[in-house]
């Protein structure tokens, strides 16, 4: 059904005259500021159930990462061998793993490592990749030739492969920060490409020419006018990439070269579950389920935001 009502700050009206009585058209306040891309997208996003589901899930995981004690009073590192592989019991809804640790508490406390690695790596990748992509796309010429080749070089080395090689070297000093730096160093090229493409498609727009002819400096034009308008695909990519980095951290921890053993992490717990799978499948199920749900919520969020920002998909 086409929209026939005016939304707040709506700047454009495309309904046919039959659907839109003249007084409705007349009632548009031409003095009002036109709706920005973001306000439009927010209007659209609010009506998507997928957005609310993924937002709720992300909020839940972030809350578990920030305040795990809100969800459980059991210490994830308090383990009694006499409970080894026991099923669920009062106060221990998910049962116990091989060491006799409470699986529910470990699943809750495991959120912190994943969320920290995911968020911090995404920040590193957005800053490094965004900067390189924006400069390459906006200034072109030699900047572009050199920066694009540097991007290609890092792009040619698969993320997990590079991370394994480097993490093996940091045997003694592995912590969340080293994982973030390693994933960040090899994770930015894809984002730089997205940013470069977006900047190049925006930089010839009329409002950029206007800003330039009004005397704005090149750097100011880039920061104030080009980057905000090129941000949409970058945000969508970064949301989905956040999930990928969480998986990459779990893969490294699974191989035993990610986070140190004293950090509670879903990847390490899944790795340990290998030996208990036959007798007690829930040892694998809960950490793997939590990991998958977290990644899934970021992918769904990225999908919802992309659809909301894409006018072609919005009409549906």
């Amino acid at each position: 059904m086409p929209e026939t009502t005016t939304r707040p700050h709506q700047g454009h009206f495309f309904a046919s005259p039959e659907q839109a009585p003249l007084q409705v058209v007349d009632s548009i306040d031409e003095g009002a500021a036109p709706a920005s891309l973001w306000a439009d997208a927010w209007q659209n996003l609010r009506r998507r159930p997928l957005f609310w589901i993924s937002a709720a899930l992300i909020l839940l995981v972030v809350a578990a990462a920030a305040f795990p004690s809100l969800f459980t009073s059991t210490d994830p590192r308090f383990c009694e061998l006499k409970n080894s592989l026991d099923g669920p019991s009062g106060g221990h809804p998910f049962g116990f793993d091989r060491q006799g640790c409470d699986i529910y508490a470990r699943t809750i406390y495991g959120a912190r490592a994943s969320v920290l690695v995911g968020v911090l790596t995404t920040v590193v990748v957005v800053v490094v990749g965004g900067l390189i992509g924006a400069i390459a796309g906006f200034f072109g010429g030699w900047f572009d030739a050199v920066l694009s080749r540097v991007t290609d070089i890092f792009f040619a080395i698969p993320l997990v492969l590079a991370a394994i090689v480097v993490m093996q070297m940091f045997k003694e000093s592995r912590n969340i920060l080293t994982v973030v730096v390693v994933l960040g160093i090899f994770g930015w090229p894809q984002l730089a490409r997205v940013m470069r493409g977006a900047v190049m498609s925006v930089k010839n727009a009329d409002f950029v020419t206007a800003a330039k002819s009004l005397g704005a400096s090149r750097v100011k034009t880039l920061v104030r006018h080009v980057v905000p308008n090129a941000a949409a695909p970058v945000i969508v990519y970064a949301t989905v990439a956040l999930g990928t980095f969480i998986v990459a951290e779990a893969t490294l921890s699974f191989l035993g070269i990610g986070l140190p053993p004293e950090v509670t992490s879903w990847g390490a717990d899944i790795s340990k579950a290998q030996t208990s799978l036959r007798s007690q499948p829930s040892v694998l199920f809960y950490p793997a389920g939590a990991l998958a749900l977290t990644v899934l919520s970021f992918i769904m969020m990225g999908d919802a935001v992309r659809d909301a920002l894409d006018p072609k998909a919005r009409k549906r």
Partner: protein, 308 residues
């Protein structure tokens, strides 16, 4: 076109040099002395250590080491492992298995991804489409190693349909499950790519024309929709072959396959730097060449793209 190929080949040179330099620096410049580690707890006799360093050019300045290594690549002399085996013979043993595995994974994701994506795209918004989309999201969200365990446990241990691990004799049957696990994530991408592209092409003008002039539904779908929809899929599959070979580390570990991934992971753990550098370099070359071929293929497949 020739000019474009030439330019792309020239662009490959700095990428190749940069990537190999980066790999070499990652392995040899970062902390951790591979030679010292050889001696274990007691440490190596200094004279022996010096001799090993000289043999592997580790006593030279870093750039000289790198240049000697480049020379090795071009003369196909990749040196020996620390236990004295030629790296080329280690690779000759490992690569055929992984190539077999990667090709099987590619066939799996291409056949099933395109088929499911086509049906979902033709029935967009229906039950099959929704189911397939949810499944593809789950496959992307669940890490490869979890898919690997669960499949190994259910299909191999419980149902006993397929062998759980691959031994020294690599049979086609034993590689089926690893190939499915390796190709799972890309299968989800191929499916979504095909679905979106088919759904978009269905509304294109040339498809309406084809229907209007009375062609059968089958011919419209096969010739006019599917062929055009496959362009992005083919390019994805081409680039994926390189990624699959590099991504086989996890899968080969779970199913105990003696391929590139397993060899590489063991070499990394044992500090066999020469093996690590050589295998990684070959993987990167495969990746770069696959991407180049895909770019050229893109131009050949899509008549709208012309490179001046």
């Amino acid at each position: 076109m020739a000019w474009y190929i030439g330019r792309r080949l020239l662009q490959m040179i700095p990428v190749f040099l940069g990537a190999t330099l980066l790999i070499y620096a990652m392995v040899f410049l970062l902390p951790g002395d591979p030679v010292a580690a050889l001696g274990g707890e007691r440490g190596l006799n200094p004279a022996v250590a010096a001799q090993i360093r000289a043999e592997y050019n580790l006593d030279q300045p870093f750039l000289v080491q790198y240049l000697l290594y480049l020379k090795g690549i071009f003369t196909l002399d990749l040196g020996t492992t620390f236990s004295g085996r030629a790296v080329t013979s280690v690779m000759a043993e490992a690569f055929p298995v992984t190539i077999k595995l990667a090709v099987m994974a590619l066939v799996f994701e291409a056949v099933f991804g395109v088929a499911a994506g086509l049906v979902a795209g033709l029935r967009k918004g229906k039950a099959f489409d929704a189911t397939v989309l949810v499944v593809s999201l789950l496959v992307v969200a669940v890490p490869t190693f979890v898919i690997g365990f669960v499949l190994q446990f259910v299909v191999g241990v419980k149902l006993r349909w397929l062998p759980t691990a691959v031994g020294s004799d690599v049979s086609f049957e034993s590689l089926i499950m690893p190939a499915i696990v390796l190709g799972a994530v890309s299968f989800a991408y191929v499916l979504r790519l095909t679905r979106n592209s088919v759904a978009e092409n269905l509304t294109a003008d040339h498809v309406r024309t084809a229907t209007a002039k009375g062609l059968s539904r089958g011919r419209v779908v096969n010739v006019h929709v599917l062929r055009n929809s496959l362009i992005p899929v083919v390019t994805f599959l081409g680039a994926d072959l390189g990624a699959l070979m590099g991504g086989a580390i996890i899968t080969e570990g779970i199913f105990n396959i003696n391929g590139v991934g397993g060899t590489l992971f063991r070499a990394i753990q044992q500090g066999q730097s020469t093996t690590v550098v050589s295998i990684t370099t070959v993987l990167v070359i495969v990746y770069i060449v696959a991407n180049l071929l895909v770019d050229l293929l893109y131009a050949a497949l899509d008549p709208r793209i012309r490179y001046a």
